[in-house]
């Protein structure tokens, strides 16, 4: 089920070009019709299967850092 985060760099109907780490390829947007240029999407087997919400990504990381900082009280000796 691996899917790779890639950025949409241009779009034409169901076809789009995506890029990540200097690699670009053509993908299909039938499963994600409202995706726009500039969106980060998960690409699996040549299709974009979902958008990546950058704000949620930041919040998840912040939550992880908060959880980690709480361990000062619960440190196991």
């Amino acid at each position: 089920c691996l899917a790779v985060p890639m950025k949409i760099i241009n779009k034409d109907g169901f076809s789009a070009m995506v890029e990540a780490g200097g690699v670009s390829r053509e993908i299909n947007l039938r499963l994600l019709e409202d995706a726009q240029v500039g969106d980060y999407v998960l690409v699996h087997a040549g299709f974009a299967i979902e958008k990546i919400d950058e704000q949620e990504a930041r919040e998840t990381l912040q939550l992880m850092q908060q959880i980690a900082q709480l361990n000062a009280e619960d440190e196991v000796h």
Partner: protein, 364 residues
């Protein structure tokens, strides 16, 4: 932000593991968590997650490796299709070496059959367009992450009026298999690390029955190490307060309703059927086959061939490993007769198979 490196920070991993240990102290008993998806299994081993978890947490590998649960009969049927004149088989790479009853697609290719590996079902459609004299059959194996991509490809084939493209469908659905597992008293599951990208399609709603009807905590978890550690921590917090529910750790991608466009495409192009899971048997309503409107693309309708009499290696324990009941190390074939070079069972072949993970990374 690249959405990968940020979720591999060793410092945060260390701190999360301390939090996990503290919560386990409060739970005060061993806990068994099942990671359903084979991609989680591989990530857990690749990143050495088990080495920073308390020994009292047992991680069980579930049936979430599509190659591993594909029955011999499907492989044997694919071989029979490959032996038809003018047929070209297109398949994802990890199906190539899976042993059927007496041969494999790799061996058939070596014997001269036209069998090609593709990254996408769209590539198989391109092969069909470029070879009008050939009948191209795509081996459609995979869960809900993959089945919408085949549905999308069939619509492309229809719109482009490609008549020499076919699909041999063996798609399977994750929730029915999870239901079977929680109903098996011999499999101790305290909570599920739910698949990341299957859930991007089906949404968290699809697991509600597990929390409501079976009192099983569920956390939809990303594949990066910090995602997995946070997912485990969230499961333990649910276990601690005895409040099973479905939570989304992988919120940057997964939504409650999933990808409705993809779900509609699946419902349009496929219909639910009973399906045979290798090592498990038939699970009701756990597979997909092409809906009647798309039968012209259905290789099982168009090509009336039968595979050889199905045989399984008597010593192979993949069926038990797939359900999390046995560890690969307890299989007599593991590391001796069954290796990545000469695999006996599917769990050693697949990139996401439990035996492949144990062989490559040890017990983790």
């Amino acid at each position: 932000m690249k959405f990968i490196d940020e979720f591999r920070d060793g410092g945060i991993a260390h701190d999360l593991s301390i939090k996990i240990a503290a919560t386990m102290d409060r739970i005060g008993r061993p806990v068994s968590l099942m990671e359903v998806c084979g991609t989680h299994t591989m990530s857990i081993y690749r990143h050495g997650i088990k080495t920073i978890l308390p020994l009292s947490i047992k991680l069980l590998s579930g049936p979430g490796c599509p190659v591993c649960v594909t029955p011999n009969s499907y492989l044997d049927h694919a071989v029979a299709l490959a032996r038809q004149d003018t047929v070209t088989i297109a398949t994802f790479g990890d199906m190539l070496n899976v042993p059927g009853s007496s041969t494999s697609l790799a061996r058939e290719r070596a014997a001269g059959r036209d069998i090609r590996t593709v990254y996408s079902p769209l590539d198989a459609l391109t092969i069909a367009k470029n070879n009008p004299d050939k009948k191209v059959i795509f081996l459609a194996v995979g869960f809900e992450t993959t089945s919408p991509t085949i549905a999308g490809t069939i619509l492309e084939a229809r719109d482009q009026k490609v008549s020499n493209f076919f699909v041999s469908c063996a798609h399977k659905l994750i929730p029915p298999a999870m239901k079977l597992l929680v109903e098996d008293p011999d499999i101790p599951i305290d909570g599920f690390i739910c698949p990341a990208h299957v859930s991007a399609i089906i949404g968290s709603q699809a697991y509600e029955f597990l929390a409501k009807d079976y009192r099983k905590p569920c956390v939809i978890t990303g594949f990066e190490p910090l995602d997995i550690l946070q997912g485990i921590y969230m499961l333990l917090e649910q276990i601690l307060i005895k409040a099973p529910r479905v939570e989304i750790q992988y919120s940057r991608v997964v939504k409650q309703q999933g990808n409705t466009t993809a779900l509609n495409l699946i419902a349009k192009v496929f219909k639910k059927t009973d399906a045979v899971w290798r090592g498990i048997g038939t699970i009701p309503e756990s597979g997909l086959s092409l809906a009647p409107a798309y039968s012209p693309f259905d290789a099982d309708d168009v090509f009336r061939v039968t595979g050889e009499q199905e045989k399984e290696h008597p010593g192979c324990l993949c069926g038990e490993v797939i359900k999390g009941k046995r560890e690969p190390e307890t299989c007599s074939l593991f590391r001796t007769v069954c290796t990545p070079i000469s695999p006996v069972g599917p769990c050693m072949v697949s990139q996401e198979g439990t035996c492949a993970a144990h062989y490559k990374y040890g017990e983790g």
